[in-house]
Symmetry: C2
Subunit: 199 residues, 2 copies
């Protein structure tokens, strides 16, 4: 069993800003400098030894609101940030997987639940954290789930029992609220917003 | 004026795979090793000198199908890959901007066009290139546009005049096809697909 506060695994960091430090060149190990490359319009970390430009771009967090018979799957976070607060399964998209595959994998990892990913629910731009959060609707065919190593507890709850005062992140709150509004209205739309900060 | 074949600007690389080389640690300059960190499930580039884990995640490309009076804005690429082929304005999302802001900026850069970004058109997972392409519908209030430094030519074309045999990328072809189908059907939906390779 892994100490959840121990290893600096990307998932275990939750949605912490994952900006890299490029003080040294990843290609040759020389010191980098910050400069706007010729033909570019933004400052970048540049290696004058080998010419490598170290671009930094937003990362994608994928997640889902997974439902079984009107109940929604939520997870109590075992890890910082926001340990002890409730969230829906979500985490960083990995190379080689689709958005939908990533969202399903996170459900498996955090709640040991196999879900069928459905329609797009929300695109949340977290500009201050250099992240885009992508949430889907999902279905849990059977009420089979468990407690993954990133969770302290997981459960299926009716809308009336969602612990709104203890939701971990504004983006997951946004996703849950839009999900319930759409469900009540019988529609299946997607929603886009910008949240400048995570917390 | 910048030589479009010159500087290794990220935009100028088009949608080339931007995977970083992390042979050396960006934080301390020491050699890295490839290993699965404790508690993780994927191999990462790790620095045993300072403990930094170099995560690599998919990058986001944003673009739009911009319309003015039934005509669509397309750009002839001045840069590799696919120099001399037609595309819609698109490029890498930058830190600090929303998906919509990034799509509008690319339109400005590549076609000197100011657009109003509308609804989501397509999510294209390019798993082999570690990219997610996000396309929006957009409106061009006036037929005012020009030739940005990444373009050889730009123009507004009717659907019948789209140069299908000379489209730069499968993802832009997918976006254009879905756009026209939806427009013909009078609907405004979004589409999701996976393309394993860019070309």
């Amino acid at each position: 069993m892994t100490d959840p506060n121990g290893p600096p695994r990307q998932e275990l960091l939750g949605f912490a800003s994952m900006s890299m430090n490029f003080s040294y060149c990843g290609n040759c190990g020389a010191r980098t400098v910050i400069r706007i490359p010729e033909g570019d319009h933004l400052p970048r970390r540049i290696c004058d030894n080998c010419g490598t430009i170290h671009y930094e771009n937003p990362r994608i967090v994928v997640g889902c609101v997974a439902e079984h018979e009107n109940q929604i799957l939520i997870c109590l976070r075992a890890i910082e940030p926001r340990r002890g607060y409730w969230t829906i399964p979500a985490g960083f998209l990995e190379n080689g997987e689709t958005l939908e595959q990533g969202a399903a994998r996170e459900c498996q990892e955090e709640a040991l639940a196999t879900v069928q990913i459905g329609s797009l629910l929300a695109l949340v731009n977290i500009t201050g954290a250099h992240q885009v959060h992508v949430f889907f609707r999902a279905g849990l065919a059977e009420p089979v789930y468990g407690v993954g190593i990133e969770s302290l507890e997981t459960k299926l709850v009716h809308a009336a029992d969602i612990p709104w005062n203890d939701i971990a992140f504004p983006s997951t709150r946004f996703a849950l609220e839009r999900y319930l509004e759409d469900r009540a209205a019988g529609i299946d739309s997607y929603h886009s917003t910008e949240l400048t900060r995570r917390l």
